[in-house]
Symmetry: C2
Subunit: 414 residues, 2 copies
């Protein structure tokens, strides 16, 4: 296959992770080395929105040591977006504009980093460009703390969030039992539809310092059953720690704050729901009468680069690097995915998944990895997740605090 010579653009999309910039580092480092093929390497400001607005940066002008620091810099260094493209059949305005920009800047390589929605975007753009007869290699780079992308063993970003969650719960576990009095601690974890992150609390339990109960969105939530579980453990231990996904809901589709919180309605008529952790903690306080603590791991679970998994950092970099290498070798229309050997020790093997298969499909925690009671995960999950959180990322430190990448962000010129 003849070499496709031209420029490359990379964009970040969706919620950031602790390691999304490690994938950026992988793309940029590799693309900048492909000097005979890729002439200019652009970084889009705020993903697809930056491309539509011709707002992107010339990454060749960045200091290589700052690009290296991207590996340990959390959040989306280029800025992200949650922009949803219409179907081209319905409204092709954005697609036409994209094609115009791609032509103007001779963009022949498009790398897009994100989760389900972003892979859908990537797929739509790829198909449109093909139909328009514009030659461009399109590769998706996976990213999501939610770990719910189809076709890949796991997703960059998940393991670092899992390591943060497990470590933090181990620490909170010790803190929550210092006093010789009863206490119930509720820890709320991200994941609207898939319970991978909340299940990671089990890694702390595996080390003897974890929750007693774990509630995932995969299981229909039953408040009475939870209360019975909590009361039983409280009666015996006087300490209960509960890990609960923000996405947990009853089979009628009600979320926990709707069940036990005081729901107020704002000026727009939208229901204002309290946080799951705080309303559940208040509920236990009322029903059981003990000390309670509701903890929401909030943004920290997805941006704690200081506690990232080295395995995750390396694999995220690899995903970006591989996307570039595959595209230069002639591949297009794939997402870079991972698989592991069916038996023997863990290893991360590359697997290319057609974008059309990934787009909008969602991977959940298998029912057989959850216990019969639906309130914990079993050794299948531990065996799956433990290899992913191995190794400690080394964040550059300056004056006792992290030294994150500082990009010049030189605006590209057409």
């Amino acid at each position: 296959m003849s070499k496709l010579i031209g420029n490359a653009i990379f964009g970040q999309s969706g919620g950031p992770t602790a390691v999304i910039n490690a994938s950026a580092a992988g793309v940029f480092t590799e693309a900048l080395q492909q000097t005979g093929v890729i002439r200019k390497v652009y970084g889009a400001a705020h993903g697809i929105v930056g491309i539509l607005n011709e707002k992107f940066y010339d990454m060749g002008q960045e200091d290589p040591s700052e690009l290296e620091l991207l590996k340990t810099t959390p959040s989306s260094a280029l800025g992200s977006c949650r922009y949803k493209l219409a179907k081209a059949e319905v409204d092709d305005t954005d697609y036409k504009r994209l094609l115009e920009v791609f032509k103007k800047y001779d963009i022949r390589y498009f790398f897009y980093n994100g989760g389900n929605d972003s892979m859908d975007t990537c797929n739509k753009i790829s198909k449109y460009l093909q139909n328009a007869g514009y030659e461009c290699r399109v590769m998706g780079v996976p990213k999501t703390i939610d770990n719910d992308l189809f076709g890949t063993d796991h997703c960059p970003g998940f393991a670092s969030a899992a390591k943060y969650i497990a470590t933090t719960i181990m620490e909170v576990y010790l803190d929550a039992r210092v006093y010789d009095i009863g206490m119930i601690t509720v820890i709320e974890i991200m994941g609207r539809h898939a319970g991978w992150l909340t299940a990671s609390a089990a890694l702390a339990a595996h080390k003897g310092h974890g929750p007693d109960l774990i509630y995932l969105p995969e299981i229909d939530f039953d408040l009475d059953k939870m209360m019975a579980d909590v009361k039983r453990i409280y009666a015996k231990e006087k300490k209960v720690i509960i890990a609960v996904s923000e996405g947990v809901q009853t089979k009628e589709g009600k979320f926990i704050p709707e069940l036990v919180g005081e729901v107020s309605v704002d000026a727009f008529g939208h229901k204002q729901l309290g946080g799951t952790a705080s309303v559940l903690a208040d509920y236990f306080k009322k029903e059981i009468g003990c000390k309670v603590r509701g903890i929401e791991l909030s943004l920290m679970q997805r941006c704690a680069a200081h506690l990232a998994s080295k395995t995750d950092v390396d694999e995220s970099f690899l995903a970006g690097q591989t996307a570039v290498r595959c595209a230069v070798d002639g591949m297009t229309d794939f997402m870079v995915g991972f698989q592991r050997p069916e038996s023997g020790p863990y290893a991360c093997e590359i697997k290319l998944i057609p974008l059309s298969e990934v787009a909008n499909a969602e991977k959940k925690v298998p029912r057989e990895w959850i216990n019969d009671e639906g309130n914990f995960v079993n050794e299948h999950f531990i065996n799956y997740a433990l290899p992913l959180i191995q190794g400690e990322s080394t964040v550059a430190i300056e004056d006792g605090l992290p030294r994150f990448a500082r990009l010049k962000k030189v605006q590209a010129e057409g």
Copy 2:
């Protein structure tokens, strides 16, 4: 001075910290080495309560490598308490019981680790034993994330919490600006009466990734002024990050949830206040109409051993070790404190402070370290705090997660 030969007991009191067990390691390691003087070394379960109930452990039976791991194990390994002793003149029941236990176990060294209330306890016990003619050396070992103990330059536990807060805010800062839309983030930090911890958010700002506004309990809170500050910054930047102490109140003594939250009353007639961060975030959403995020750093800020300051770990160990050495050398009735040279580079020097001076006095952030507007701290605070957060504690890792100390906790026999 002749040597006082007998047994020693150590107890932990009040809220735990990331490094309180480092002081325990300092006391135990040193006391176990004083073989000619200290015969048995006991650890009290749940502080003074364990002594009253004769529930304490024989620390000589612990594996030295596990005592070493205490340096990087958060929370109170022996258990803590919030037990307040009556004045001996009013009710001497507990004192008589303590004396009885001290005599039964020939306890001649009493080390107590805690904050203001605990130093008061320590002082009362010391005076009672003196009046009773029972020879016992009593030394306080300081501990509090709140950093509000009188007479010492700073307190063990503060710097690690400060490092956690600054690092976490740097990470959240990056996360909170990934989207090209307006957003206000409110971060709630511990400290009921003193603003040291909240002020630590300024360390993140010092590195260019910190809050725009900082509100401490030292300054009378004015909601209208805060709203004007937030609106001004929002209009210009579209992103506002606010660090606010849970203890902030108006000059009439009203806390933020009382000002802007919906206060409900529970079955006992107690006011139920929402968290400061979440009610403030909701308030900004209503008033400004932008995306908001309320984040409470909760227990994590005091138990994040994985992010402890090496300086703090070392100094906490030193405080415990020094207490033992001083007591063996004949000193009693002091708290171990720290001071730094008046000029030149930071160094931690030991200073002994009479317990009677420490007890119940509270040290606040000086007014001149806070800006005129009362919404940020100045370089005096940075110069004070920065040396304290230097160095990264190395937590032992097993299988990608912390390996915390596992004590045998062999019950002592009289």
